[in-house]
Amino acid sequence: MAKVILENISKHFVSKYSTEVVAVRDFSLEIEDKEFVVFVGPSGCGKTTTLRMIAGLEEITEGKIYIGDRLINRIPAKDRDIAMVFQNYALYPHMTVYDNLAFSLEMRKFSKEEINQRVREAADLLEISELLQRKPKQLSGGQRQRVAVGRTIVRKPQVFLFDEPLSNLDAKLRVQMRGELKKLHERLSSTIIYVTHDQVEAMTMGDRIVVMKDGLIQQVGKPLDLYFHPVNKFVAGFIGSPTMNFVEAKLFASNHQLYVEADGMKLIVPVEKARKLQGYVNRQVTLGIRPQDLSKASSPVEGETFKASVEIIEPIGNEIYLDVKAGRDSLIASVDPKTKVNPHEEILLQANLENIHLFEAGSEKALL
C-alpha cells in the first residue's frame, strides 16, 4: 500500500502525420495511501493515458511519478508493483481461470503451495471458486470481470489501476459490480486509481474525483464538492444527471437587488452571493441551474418564478423530467413525480436561488 505522487506529468505523442499531439499536460496530483481516486472525463481527455503512464505502458514525456518513495519513471511495468484491470479484461483465452489467476505469481516464482493458497483466497473472495477450471470463453461478462479483478488481487500490489472496467457490462450488472468494487476496496484497504467516462461511477465510487478535459485537470475534489462547487462550466455540466441547464444571461442591479436576467426569466441573486459579484454588474454571464433545483410553482413570485412551456414529459418514476422552453432557452426540470402537467402547457417554474451557479462568459470560470 502506498502513496502515488504525480509531478507535472506531460505526455506528447507524435501522430501519424508527424504532428505533435499533447495528450496530458502538466498533471500534478498526490494520491493518498488507501485512497480511491477516480479520473473522469470525456473520451480523449487523457485519463487513460495518465493511467497507462502510471502503469508503465506509456513513456512519460515530462514530469515524475513516485509510488511510495520510489521514483518509477525508468522502472519497467513489471517492477512497479502495480496491477491493472483492462477495459476488455485481457484474460488469457488459452488458460483456465486458475492459470489466469496464477500467471503473475508464476512469473514471480512463487512456490506452488503459495500460488494455490492465494488463488483460492482470491477466488473465494470474488465467489468464482467453482469456475477455476473453466476457460474465459465459457464465462459470462460479469464472471470475466471478476476473474480480471481476481488476477490483480492475488499479487497484493501496492496500487490497483482500473481502466474503465465496467463499461462492457450491462446496466444492472454495472451497478452491482460498482458496489462490489467499493466493498473490495474497503477489504483490501489499498490505493486504487480508477478511470471512467461515466460520472455516476465516479461520484458513487471515488473518495476523490479528478475531472479532466483536453489533457488538463479541471478540478480535483470530493464527489459532493464537485457537485455543489464546480470551478467551471465544464465540471458543472459534466457532473450531475441530467446535466445542468446553462442560460446566457446578464447581471444588473435595481432597487439594491442584484438580478440575473435571461430571455425568459429574471431571477434575484441572493444577498451573500451578490457580494461576490460586485465587479460583474452589467456584464454577460452564464447562469447554471440544476434540473433538480427547478420545481413547479402554483403562483408567481417576483424574481423567483418564470413562465415556461412544456415540450416533452419524461416520467422516470421517482421523478419526472420536463423539457421546457423559457423564452429562447431550452431547460430541463426534474420535478416531483406527482406533479400534474400536460404537454404544451404553460407552467410556472420556481428556481431554488440558493443553488444557482454563475460562470464568467469568456473563461467559463465559476463566479460563486
Binding site: 505502458l57 513489471k78 491493472m84 483492462f86 485481457a90 488469457y92 483465452p93 500467471f103 474465459p136
Partner: protein, 278 residues
C-alpha cells in the same frame, strides 16, 4: 423457407459433386496409370478410364530400378528443415514488425512483401552464384538455405496479420503481471497464434515439397535429388516417358502433402481467416 430435397440437390450437392470430380480426377488418373502395363497405356482402342490387365510392374520399377526412397528422404529432409527455419525467422520478424513499432517497421513489412513478389526464375541465377561460393553446390543444404528466401516473406506476412488480431492489452497485462517481452511471446502470443503458425507451416512444407526450379538448378547428383526432380530427370529418358513409374511416383509423393492437409485442415482455415474469437 425450407428448401426441398431436390432444390438442395440441385443447388448444393450437384455442384459439390462436380467440384469433387474435378479435383480428384488427377489422383484417379495417376492411380489408373500406375497400375497399367505399358502396352495397355499406348493402346488407343481401349477405354482409358478402366484398367484391363492390372500390374505391379510400375511400382517394382520405381522402387527397385530408381532410388525413389532416397529421394523421398531427401525431400522430407529439405522440406522439414526449411519449414522450421522459415517459421522461426518469420515468427520473430512478424512479431517485431507488428508489435515493437520501431521507426522503420512499416517499410520493413512492405519490403518483405515485395521480396515475395520477385519470381524465383530471376532469383535463381544470383542464388546459384552464392551457393557456389558457399561450396554448397549439389548439396541438400543449398535447398535448405534457399527455400526460406520465398518461404519467409509469405509466412511473415501471414503471421503479421495474425499477430494483429491479438489484443494488445493481453500482452500489456502479461507484462504488468511480470513477464518479459520474450516470455509474453512464448507464453501468450505463440499459444494464441497456433492456428496461424500451423497454416504458415503447412504452406511452407507444401511449397518446399513441391519446389522444382531451385532443386533442378542446384542439384545434379542422383543421390541428392528431391522427388519432383528425381522423377522427371530419371524417368524421362531422352524423349521416352516412362508414364507408369512416373505416375506411381507422383501419386506417392502427393500422399504426405494430402495427409498434412487433411490432419490440419481446420487449423489451416482458421489460420487463413485469421480470427481469434473471444
Amino acid at each position: 423457407m425450407h428448401e426441398s430435397f431436390w432444390q438442395k440437390l440441385l443447388k448444393f450437392y450437384l455442384p459439390l459433386a462436380l467440384f469433387i470430380l474435378f479435383l480428384l480426377f488427377p489422383f484417379y488418373w495417376m492411380f489408373n496409370t500406375s497400375l497399367k502395363p505399358m502396352k495397355e497405356l499406348y493402346n488407343l482402342k481401349l477405354n482409358p478410364f478402366y484398367i484391363h490387365s492390372p500390374t505391379l510392374d510400375n511400382i517394382k520399377t520405381l522402387f527397385f530400378d530408381t532410388i525413389f526412397f532416397r529421394w523421398m528422404y531427401n525431400t522430407f529432409f529439405v522440406a522439414i528443415l526449411s519449414t522450421v527455419i522459415s517459421l522461426g525467422a518469420s515468427l520473430l520478424a512478424a512479431y517485431a514488425i507488428q508489435r515493437l513499432k520501431f521507426k522503420t517497421s512499416g517499410p520493413t513489412g512492405l519490403a518483405i512483401f515485395f521480396g515475395y513478389l520477385i519470381p524465383p526464375t530471376i532469383l535463381f541465377i544470383p542464388l546459384a552464384t552464392i551457393i557456389f561460393d558457399l561450396r554448397l553446390w549439389d548439396s541438400l543444404w543449398s535447398l535448405v538455405l534457399t527455400y526460406p528466401t520465398f518461404l519467409i516473406p509469405f509466412c511473415t506476412w501471414l503471421l503479421m496479420g495474425y499477430f494483429k488480431s491479438i489484443p494488445k492489452e493481453m500482452e500489456e497485462c502479461a507484462m504488468i503481471d511480470g513477464a518479459s517481452r520474450l516470455r509474453v511471446f512464448w507464453r501468450i502470443v505463440i499459444p494464441l497464434c497456433l492456428p496461424g503458425i500451423f497454416s504458415a507451416g503447412i504452406f511452407a512444407f507444401t511449397l518446399s515439397w513441391n519446389e522444382f526450379l531451385y532443386a533442378l538448378a542446384f542439384i545434379s547428383t542422383t543421390e541428392s535429388k528431391t522427388v519432383p526432380i528425381g522423377l522427371v530427370t530419371e524417368l524421362v529418358r531422352g524423349d521416352v516417358y516412362h508414364w507408369g513409374p512416373l505416375m506411381t511416383g507422383a501419386l506417392l509423393a502427393s500422399v504426405p502433402v494430402a495427409l498434412v492437409y487433411s490432419f490440419f485442415v481446420e487449423h489451416y482455415v482458421a489460420g487463413l481467416t485469421g480470427a481469434l474469437k473471444e
